[in-house]
């Protein structure tokens, strides 16, 4: 897999919903080609809105999103074609209720016209990585909440995308499953060189995965923090790691308007 050459830049993006809710106010930052940027911030601060605009599913009221070199600009919205290989994992699983786990995971491959045997093989692989091999042929209604989210994550990773947008993919699972999934995300990210935007509520997840952490507070950016640890050799128990987590936690506390205890 060659590294992605697409970088994702938000330029003064604002979004006001009908009714007057300002979800984003003048947000600017960029995810370098092949980089992994995490977005953290309190609930309701506009993270999902940001991701939806990046995915072309919503439009900025002003400002624009650029995909460089291949940018398509139109009223501030980016429209991805299928071949652009963008994957999104939404905050809710969004599985097709009439398809089994493996058929849900294989859906993007199916839509890309990949042969059945191939797509089953690749889907099985990510399903195994998500710890769902036993549930491969179950229907969504037969899964636990965390399992459903893992299926959704597997579906996002199965295409080895160029641009990967993840909205709290691990929030419904326990800390150990989360670590496994983090490893899978990193594996896919590194193998494909995808330009990745990860929304998360876990600071340690952000520090472990990201090059850069965007801390949001109420509709705008509070701080952009560059993680000081080298990729690939991060150790959750090391002092350096804990220090970074502490630092980001403070930034988040400030953004959330809470005095950290």
């Amino acid at each position: 897999m060659s590294a992605s050459h697409v970088s994702l830049a938000f330029r003064r993006v604002s979004r006001t919903f009908p009714g007057g809710v300002v979800a984003l106010n003048d947000v600017s930052f960029s995810v370098p080609a092949g980089g992994l940027t995490a977005v953290i911030g309190p609930s309701g601060c506009g993270k999902t809105t940001l991701l939806r605009i990046a995915a072309g599913l919503d439009r900025a009221t002003s400002g624009r999103v650029e995909l460089i070199p291949k940018s398509i600009l139109k009223d501030g919205a980016v429209h991805f074609a299928g071949d652009r290989k963008t994957s999104v994992c939404f905050q809710d699983p969004r599985l097709l209720p009439w398809r089994s786990v493996i058929d849900n995971v294989a859906l993007p491959l199916e839509l890309a016209g990949i042969a059945r045997a191939d797509r089953m093989a690749r889907a099985s692989q990510v399903i195994a990585a998500a710890g769902l091999s036993d549930a491969k042929y179950r229907m969504p209604s037969q899964l636990s909440g965390g399992m459903r989210m893992r299926v959704a994550l597997a579906r996002a990773l199965v295409t080895r995308p160029e641009v990967l947008l993840l909205d709290e993919p691990c929030s419904a699972v326990d800390e150990f499953t989360r670590m496994q999934l983090d490893e899978e995300i990193r594996r896919v990210w590194q193998a494909s060189g995808a330009t990745t935007l990860l929304i998360t509520h876990s600071v340690s997840e952000a520090v472990w995965l990201a090059d850069q952490i965007v801390v949001m507070g109420g509709a705008s950016i509070d701080e952009i923090y560059q993680v000081q640890l080298p990729q690939g050799s991060r150790d959750r128990t090391s002092a350096g790691f804990l220090f970074e987590v502490e630092t980001v936690m403070k930034l988040l506390a400030r953004a959330a308007g809470v005095v950290a205890t």
Binding site: A55, F80, R84, V88, D92, R94, S141
Partner: protein, 265 residues
């Protein structure tokens, strides 16, 4: 599973028996004349005495109704999907389609007979015309209200048109379409009967519509009701078929069919 399917058959059978018994008693008590409202026993006797003729008639009508229903299903789903997919068409044609439904069949019957000739083709056309709108409306409404979250998944992968339709819109709207088909099933039979009214058949193989008409003329109300009962049987068979197919398609995922203990997000 087995208990459930037995119940599915027994419950309506019991209901029918109760309804018939009440009817027989009501007829006996009120002493209503047989030429106005015969009791079920008398109707049954008449049906038995005319069984050969009624059987042939039912086959004819069932054929017209079924073919009309199948055509209506095809056109309804295809046209409904196209209309649902294109907003301009939806605004323009959905209202127009309702007009189709409101044209009394007898008024256009001369046209139908002249274009399609006598017998089966006209009866089929009548059944189709009458049965088409419920499928169409249900298809449109089902496909317009597909979960937009799932829509976005497909949009992101550049799936549109045929692919999105076959893999998302159609499966997601099957429950709606089945409801529409349930309504259409009954209407198709009515349509076939009305079609037969306007396009009399020659020969001995008169369909139910003709049997009803001539029996009415001769005040043979028992025969009228016998024929009507068979209309109901024909429609009921179609309805049952639709319900069964719907159940098979939906049982694995739709909430009404899922194991009630299954959690649904």
């Amino acid at each position: 599973m087995k208990i459930r399917s037995i119940r599915t058959v027994i419950a309506p059978a019991v209901a029918v028996v109760i309804a018939l018994a009440a009817w027989e008693v009501a007829v006996a008590i009120t002493g209503v004349r047989a030429y106005l409202l015969p009791g079920p026993l008398e109707i049954a006797r008449t049906m038995w005495l005319n069984s050969a003729r009624l059987f042939d008639a039912s086959i004819q009508t069932a054929m017209a109704a079924t073919i009309g229903f199948v055509i209506a299903t095809g056109i309804g789903i295809v046209a409904g999907s196209v209309i649902a997919a294109v907003p301009v068409l939806r605004r323009a044609l959905y209202p127009l389609a309702t007009i189709l439904q409101m044209v009394p069949l007898v008024a256009v019957a001369p046209l139908l007979v002249i274009w399609l000739g006598f017998g089966l083709p006209t009866a089929i056309a009548a059944a189709t015309v009458v049965a088409i709108f419920p499928v169409l409306a249900a298809t449109i409404d089902g496909q317009v209200s597909v979960d937009p979250g799932l829509r976005e998944i497909f949009a992101l992968h550049g799936a549109s048109g045929w692919t999105r339709w076959s893999k998302l819109d159609l499966p997601a709207s099957i429950p709606n379409i089945v409801t529409g088909l349930r309504i259409s099933a009954g209407l198709a039979v009515i349509g076939a009967i009305v079609g037969e009214f306007v396009s009399g058949y020659g020969g001995d193989d008169a369909p139910l519509g003709i049997v009803v008409m001539s029996a009415m003329r001769e005040a043979r109300t028992d025969l009228v009701f016998g024929a009507v009962a068979l209309c109901a049987v024909v429609g009921f068979a179609l309805f049952g078929l639709v319900s069964f197919v719907g159940w098979v398609l939906v049982r694995r995922w739709h909430s009404s069919a899922v194991d009630p203990s299954g959690e649904k997000s």
